[in-house]
Amino acid sequence: MIPASAELLDIGIAAADAMTALGNARATAAALVENRLALRPQPVFGRDGGDPVPLAAIGQLDESLPPRWLPLARSFLAGIPAAEWGSGRLPVIVTSSNFGVGSLYAFVRDHDARHLEHGTPFAAVRLLRSTCGWGDNVTVFSHACVTAHLGLLHATRLLHAGLADRVLLVSFDFVSPFVAGGFHSLKILNSGMPAPYAKREIGSIGLGDGIAYAVLSREHAAFRITAQALHNEMFHFTSNEPTGAGFAACAAAVKFAVGGRRVWIKGHGTGTLEAGRLEAEVFSRAFPAAPLVSWKGSLGHTLGSCGLVELAIAIAALQANVIPGTVGTSGPCFTDTVALAPFHASMFDAAILTSNAFGGAHAAFVLTHD
């Protein structure tokens, strides 16, 4: 096992927001504090039926023309602070796990070639570019559920290399019958509601819509990312190294960067049993005084967008001085560090935000604030 190390490159978050099935980042944070669940049982294949599974889609799950994510993304991205995004010194980074892949399923079902105009990553990003009026300086990243973290690290490196003045990072993933069907066939998306970190017999996840943006720069900002770690244990496509060594490598990297700060942890916590247990145990050992929360029991897993969506929610929660607990979980939990109830942010100096992905990928960063 090669030890992971954190990149100690400090960047400021000039602006950030997210949209989930509970609204924008501020509305989502407030709803999570109230323990509201965005997930509700819906047929896995939308109008084509199938087993009821927990989904948190904004509107109807079904594919349409144009795909339902496009007007939602257009409306949300209109809130990005105006600039010549996509020009030489103002690059845009777009990250997603699934882009518009649901349109490919729709094409197979309907045989309507117009679906293909939205189905590939290239087509989806081209639509976003034209919708938002971005220039050519757009880079795309995709690596399953740590996708947003890759974009964040790339943006940081661009800023520190002097190759950009500000960077716009956009991340999105909208649930489609195609994606829901894939997770359902793995049996981790099933009839149960997710209860992240709960010690129970059967694990289950939910899936939700998510889109977020952040404007990043080296200038002073109230919220900053001071360290980032990425690590891939390369153990197996769908399972983690059974000792939790992959989680531990990532935790050790950010522990060094945290120093003496008092932290809370927004974990990945999808609701699967084995990964949830490993994550809770490893972070509990590395940070025994840090409360661990997951919000995917309400929002569902927003896949490649989760890293940025949950960053925007964390900032909104910090601004409100109340951090939501692990919504959807009632205990008993894998560790006693799992926080079920909301808590005051003023007790802490920083937060660690983590994500994990298929293939044994682990990502974490340290969020600090004034």
């Binding site: 066939s185 793995l186 049996k187 981790i188 099933n190 009839s191 149960g192 017999e201 059967i202 694990g203 289950s204 197996h236 496509f237 769908t238 399972s239 699967t272 049993l273």
Partner: protein, 89 residues
Amino acid sequence: MSEPLRNRLKKLIVDTLRLDDVAPIDIPDDEPLFGSPRFGLDSIDALELVVRIEKEFGVKIGSSEESRRALASVATLAAYIESSRRANA
């Protein structure tokens, strides 16, 4: 537990996973299918098997934990199918 069902499952496992160097008769009823050096099946193999079993036997496996328990061995899989059929009868 019926011998024909277990034999049918062994053939299904060999066919589905394209185990070219394993004959159905070589799979003992109680040998672990996953985590054994002999078969070395993993979660992707499990996915393929579950899809095929659900289709062929009309049973529904509800979660990944249920799937892991059912696919522990040929004997547990046969018991699972028989019990699901009884429950749905």
